[in-house]
C-alpha cells in the first residue's frame, strides 16, 4: 500500500506519524504554556511519543522483547522525572508562590 494509505490504515508509518506529531505537540506545550506543571506534562508527552514509536517498531519486528524492556525502563525514568520535577515545582512555589515559569526569571543575563 502507498505511503498515505499506510499512514491512514494503521501501518507502521501511521504509528510513526502519530508518534512524531505527539512529540511535536509535547515540545509545543513546553514552548507555549507557562504553567510549569503543564510544561512537565509536555515532556511526558514527548516521552510517550518515544514509547509509541518504540513499541510500533517492536510490533513490526515481531514483538521484540528488548524494546518492551526498554519501554519499562522508560516508564520508570518518566516517573522519576515527574517526581523530581514536581519536587522542584513545589520548592519554587514555596519561595515565589507561583508555578508560572515566566515569573521565575530572576536569574538572567
Amino acid at each position: 500500500m502507498t505511503g498515505m494509505d499506510a499512514i491512514l490504515h494503521g501501518g507502521l508509518q501511521g504509528y510513526l506519524v502519530v508518534a512524531l506529531l505527539l512529540f511535536a505537540l509535547g515540545l509545543a506545550t513546553v514552548l507555549l504554556r507557562r504553567t510549569l506543571l503543564l510544561q512537565f506534562m509536555g515532556v511526558e508527552l514527548m516521552l510517550n511519543a518515544a514509547n509509541v514509536a518504540l513499541l510500533a517498531f517492536a510490533r513490526f519486528r515481531g514483538g521484540d522483547a528488548q524494546a518492551m524492556v526498554f519501554y519499562l525502563f522508560i516508564i520508570a525514568v518518566a516517573a522519576c522525572e515527574a517526581a523530581v520535577g514536581l519536587a522542584l515545582v513545589i520548592g519554587l512555589y514555596r519561595h515565589r508562590d507561583t508555578t508560572d515559569s515566566d515569573r521565575a526569571a530572576s536569574l538572567k543575563q
Binding site: Y15, F40, M68
Partner: protein, 164 residues
C-alpha cells in the same frame, strides 16, 4: 480503529496545548494517554497498554493534578502574555515539525520496507518473553533503573523535606 485512537491521542495533546484552564488541560492529557494505551492495544501489546494506564493515568496524572490543586495554580493563563516572537516561532516550529513528520515518514525507504516485512510477522508480546529479556539481558539496566528511582526519591526528599 487506528484513526480513532490516533485522533484521541493527538486531539488530547492539542487540547492540552490550547486549553486555557489548567485543570481541563490536564484532563485532556489523560485522554491523550488513554489514546496511547489504545494504540498499544492495536499494536498487540496488552502489557504495555495496561502499564500505560496504570502508571501514567493512574500514578503520574493523579499526582500532577493533585499538585495542581495543591498549589492552586489552575488560574486562567493569558496566552497573549507570552512574547509574540516566542509564540509565533513556536507555532511555526510546530507546523514545520508536523509537516516534516509526515514527509519524513513518507520519504523513509527503510520504514516502508520494514512495514511490509513486519506486517505478517508473529506479533504476540508475552510477559514471559519480556521477563526473560529483562532478567537475562538487562540485569544491569534493571539495577540501574532501581538506582535511578532511588536517586529520584532521595532528590525529591532533599528538595521538599521540611525540617532543614
Amino acid at each position: 480503529m487506528f484513526i480513532t485512537f490516533a485522533l484521541i491521542t493527538l486531539l488530547g495533546a492539542l487540547g492540552m496545548l490550547l486549553q486555557k484552564n489548567v485543570v481541563v488541560a490536564g484532563l485532556c492529557m489523560v485522554a491523550a494517554f488513554f489514546g496511547v494505551a489504545g494504540l498499544f492495544v492495536l499494536l498487540a501489546n496488552p502489557v504495555a497498554a495496561a502499564l500505560q494506564i496504570i502508571v501514567y493515568t493512574g500514578a503520574i496524572m493523579v499526582l500532577v493534578l493533585f499538585v495542581i490543586m495543591m498549589l492552586n495554580s489552575h488560574e486562567e493563563e493569558k496566552a497573549q502574555a507570552s512574547h509574540p516572537v516566542q509564540r509565533w516561532l513556536s507555532f511555526a516550529l510546530l507546523a514545520a515539525l508536523a509537516f516534516g513528520a509526515v514527509k519524513l515518514v513518507l520519504s523513509s525507504g527503510g520504514l516502508k520496507a520494514l512495514a511490509v516485512a513486519g506486517a505478517e510477522m508473529p506479533q504476540a508480546m508475552t510477559l514471559q518473553k519480556v521477563g526473560t529479556a529483562l532478567f537475562a539481558d538487562h540485569l544491569l539496566g534493571f539495577e540501574v533503573a532501581g538506582l535511578v528511582l532511588l536517586a529520584a526519591m532521595v532528590g525529591a526528599v532533599a528538595l521538599t523535606k521540611r525540617n532543614l
